[in-house]
């Protein structure tokens, strides 16, 4: 018999039309059919098949070590951006599809050294950097009053807690300005699990991390979780309920929450910005979680002139850094980013705004690589300056 590949119905449903190839940002860089959704699907389908004739003729695809290595590479170069899902002729739900395939590849071929390290660190330290839990909340500015009976828990996430503390600080300052009763989980906050889920190693996330984080929030009595990280947001909002069932708490991205605070009058724009800006939809916030309007509404409220890139909204191109690609294939991630920054420059905008720390980092590094002057800033930073 052939290999026990998951998503068999999708493998057979694929028409091989190739629409997915032309939008796939990694194919755009790699340029071989092996690094396309169509190519991987075809290969996996071949792996799954073996009939009587194949046995008699000693044919059929065997996963020799070279092919296994290539398969793993091709699958893990995928940024999980979901652009293929957007155009698929037969509606393959690729965001989940790739997670299943990654999990299967790890099971069948094994983990790379760095995947293993990442897994072990998250398992032990509850964050991918191997940082101690005690310092997780150390970013919190002293002048922010925390509430004993909070309405909102701000979920910092690993990247903002340990590496981009300014974003976490700006986020709580915005909510503080609006007088929100707020608290954080501090050392009790664990990685949301996104890096493991997107890389097909989600077992401990599903069995421990999800329940832990939700329990910690529930213990505070807060009814709302707000996060400024697009990855944490999508994971808690959309992946957690798949395992835990419907959540009793509301999960919001800071852009949505800021819009709410602006609409209710709790926040006022005191120093409007007059720049011409463009907005980069993070995959996790846009295509995955379908939040397209709220961040744009906030940008408009701030007074900025918003111009759209050629590909925006559901068609927006990935920044290049998703699903561990930035760590494993740095150059490719940057090159995808360069394409995106060039698209932004074409609009004539002076600034790129994006509400995701990974997009912000990668687009800035990409601009530097390409010698382009345009900067990318996080929505919370620009909002804080204007409010």
């Amino acid at each position: 018999m052939g290999y026990d590949v998951p998503n068999i119905e999708d493998l057979y449903a694929c028409l091989s039309c190739g629409y997915c190839n032309s939008v796939c940002p990694t194919y755009g860089q790699v340029g071989w059919e092996s690094r396309t959704p169509r190519g991987v699907i075809y290969y996996l389908k071949q792996l799954s098949q073996k009939n009587v004739f194949d046995t008699i003729l000693r044919r059929g695809v065997k996963l020799d070590s070279q092919s296994a290595e290539r398969l793993r590479e091709c699958v893990f170069m995928c940024t999980s951006c979901g652009m293929c899902e957007e155009v698929c002729h037969v509606d393959i739900e690729f965001i989940e599809f790739w997670e299943d395939i990654k999990e299967w590849v790890i099971k069948t071929v094994g983990k790379t050294e760095s995947q293993k390290k990442m897994y072990d660190r998250i398992k032990e330290f509850k964050n991918p950097f191997g940082e101690p839990a005690e310092t997780r909340g150390a970013w919190l500015p002293e002048d922010i009053k925390l509430s004993e009976t909070p309405e909102v828990i701000f979920f910092g996430g690993c990247t903002e807690s340990y590496r981009m503390q300014k974003l976490a600080q700006a986020s709580v300052k915005i909510m503080d300005k609006a007088g929100v009763e707020l608290n954080i989980l501090g050392e009790k906050e664990w990685c949301c699990g996104s890096p493991l889920l997107r890389l097909g190693q989600g077992d401990i996330v599903k069995s421990e991390f999800m329940a832990h984080n939700i329990k910690m929030v529930e213990e505070t009595g807060a009814k709302t979780v707000v996060t400024a990280c697009a990855g944490c947001f999508n994971t808690i909002k959309n992946d957690y309920p798949k395992v835990l069932g419907k959540l009793d708490i509301e999960v919001l991205h800071l852009s949505e929450y800021t819009k709410r605070l602006l609409d209710s009058g709790a926040l006022k724009v005191n120093n409007p910005i007059s720049q011409k800006v463009t907005y980069h939809d993070p995959c996790h916030l846009g295509r995955h979680a379908k939040v397209f309007e709220a961040p744009r509404d906030v940008i408009n409220s701030l007074g900025a002139e918003l111009v759209e890139m050629r590909r925006h909204g559901a068609e927006a191109c990935c920044c290049g850094s998703g699903a561990g690609v930035k760590a494993a294939y740095k150059d490719m991630a940057l090159d995808i980013g360069v394409g995106r920054v060039e698209e932004a420059v074409e609009t004539g905008a002076e600034l790129i705004i994006s509400p995701c720390p990974f997009c912000v980092l990668n687009l800035n590094q990409a601009a530097e690589k390409a010698g382009l002057k345009i900067k990318t800033v996080d929505l919370v930073q620009i909002a804080l300056g204007a409010l």
């Binding site: 057979y12 190739g18 071989w32 004739f53 194949d54 290539r70 091709c74 509606d91």
Partner: protein
């Protein structure tokens, strides 16, 4: 011992350098297919896996590759988006696949002269978006525009979106650059003016050549000033009543950009897929293009001709237009689908509809009919049938459907369309013995070593060098059709 694949790979790496050639098994396997999937049994007759895949970036590189191939008698298989359903872009005896999709630069959009010059590996979608951004439009393109390449479509000689007004793949070509089987690079046309006067029209030799005469590297195409656009959809109770409207429309003075249709079964499948809002009936989709007054006038003509049909809302009509590249959503229900194509004269549209439905019924298929009207005199039917390739007999029978459909084309005074590997044996029947001989001579004189996409078009050959006999495949198909007739109905 160093094998054939390795030798070719080393040579290719010398020519193109920096990682633009591959020959690992993984890559060779993923390039061993295109949209047309052969029943697995055929693996025995053919060697679908290329020895090497190359991504050329210039005509000069291709010229060098071709010279090597001709010296060493290695097959060259040009490959675009690999979206054609006739297995035109896969090898039958190994060889070198040229992945042309990396030659995708638009070289010049010349609005004054209304032409665009582009490399051949660009997709039609990318090309029309670039041309549109400058205020012009492409006349016609295949509905597979998101993946189909300019050179790929020219090589299949297809018709597509916009053909009713602007013709097919061959009708908007001003000039081509082609690397010939001897490595020479030829410019076929006249960039700024139409082809007329003395001299063979070299542009047209390459239209429908299926990659057997050379590798198209560049094309200069006509473009048109962009004008107003309006899609319209009319719903009929069934395909036969829709057919009456098509007869009327093709005899009226309206010249829409595009005319396409889909039958009740097609929309039934969409509902089965969960698109609850899919209409109940057969839909005629028409796209009008031109100055506002003209469009208004043509809409009036259409409203009169389609009297009795339900005119759909602007939103739904736009939705149908936006879905024009997604004709095969229903495949998932199979999950395999077999596609057929047959051209018939407009005057015999009714008979052909009867014949196709009878075939579907006789073979007990779960099938639907879609189609297009590429000009006033022709209707092309593109029926598809849902099956499951994992069920061996069911899937083998599939070829029977395609074969019989080609037969219907002939019977109703028309013909099948592309041949590729599937239907190479039909070329003689399609054009007649003398024309076939002439094409054969043309191929032999341009490609004496038979290195350009061998096995396609002028001769079907298996890997053992036996010709794919004109009789065996159709015979096999008839047997399969018989078998299918005895099997229970597809659910």
């Amino acid at each position: 011992m160093i094998g054939k694949s390795e030798i070719i790979f080393n040579e290719m790496s010398n020519i193109v350098g920096d990682g633009r050639a591959r020959n690992d098994m993984f890559e060779r396997r993923v390039y061993s297919h295109d949209l047309g999937s052969f029943p697995k049994l055929f693996d025995m007759m053919f060697n679908f896996k290329p020895d090497c895949i190359v991504k050329p970036e210039s005509s000069d590189e291709i010229s060098k590759i071709v010279k090597f191939a001709s010296k060493e008698r290695v097959a060259i298989i040009p490959r675009g988006g690999a979206s054609w359903g006739m297995s035109g872009a896969i090898p039958i005896e190994g060889g070198i696949i040229l992945d042309m999709t990396h030659m995708s630069n638009v070289l010049e959009i010349d609005g004054d002269n209304l032409i665009v010059t582009t490399e051949g590996g660009i997709t039609w979608k990318d090309l029309y978006e670039k041309v549109e951004a400058k205020g012009y439009m492409i006349g016609s393109y295949p509905s597979s525009a998101p993946s189909a390449t300019v050179a790929g479509w020219i090589n299949t000689g297809g018709i597509g979106t916009g053909s009713y007004k602007y013709g097919g793949a061959g009708d908007n070509i001003r000039a081509l650059e082609v690397v010939l089987p001897n490595g020479n690079i030829v410019n076929t046309g006249s960039k700024y003016t139409l082809q007329s006067g003395s001299g063979y029209d070299l542009n047209q030799i390459f239209v429908g050549a299926e990659g057997t005469l050379g590798v198209i590297t560049k094309a200069t195409l006509r473009i048109f000033p962009k004008d107003e656009f309006r899609p319209l959809s009319y719903l009929f109770p069934d395909l036969k009543t829709l057919s009456k409207a098509v007869q009327g429309l093709t005899r009226s003075d309206a010249t829409p950009l595009n005319i396409s249709f889909a039958d009740n079964n097609h929309f039934g499948f969409l509902r089965e897929l969960g698109h609850g809002d899919a209409p109940d009936g057969s839909m005629l989709n028409i796209a009008l293009e031109g100055p506002e007054e003209l469009i208004d006038y043509e809409e009036g003509v259409l409203d009169r001709i389609t009297k009795g049909a339900k005119k759909e809302s602007v939103e739904l009509s736009m939705h149908e237009w936006d879905e024009r590249s997604y004709e095969l959503r229903a495949k998932r229900l199979g999950p395999s689908a077999i596609l057929g194509e047959a051209f018939v004269p407009t005057t015999r549209m009714d008979e052909a509809i009867d014949h196709i439905y009878t075939l579907i019924k006789k073979m007990k298929l779960k099938a639907a009919i879609t189609g297009m009207v590429p000009d006033r005199n022709s209707v092309v039917f593109m029926p598809y049938y849902l099956t499951d390739e994992r069920k061996l007999i069911k899937s083998m029978v599939s070829l029977g459907f395609m074969g019989k459909l080609a037969g219907i084309g002939f019977k109703d005074g028309g013909r099948p369309s592309g041949l590729g590997l599937f239907f190479a044996y039909n070329l003689k029947k399609l054009h007649g013995g003398v024309a076939y001989g002439t094409m054969h001579d043309l191929k032999s004189s341009l490609d004496p070593c038979d290195i350009m996409n061998p096995g396609k078009l002028t001769e079907g050959q298996t890997r053992f060098g036996f010709p794919l006999p004109g009789a065996v495949l159709p015979l096999g198909m008839s047997v399969m059709k018989l078998v299918k007739g005895i099997l229970p109905k597809d659910k």
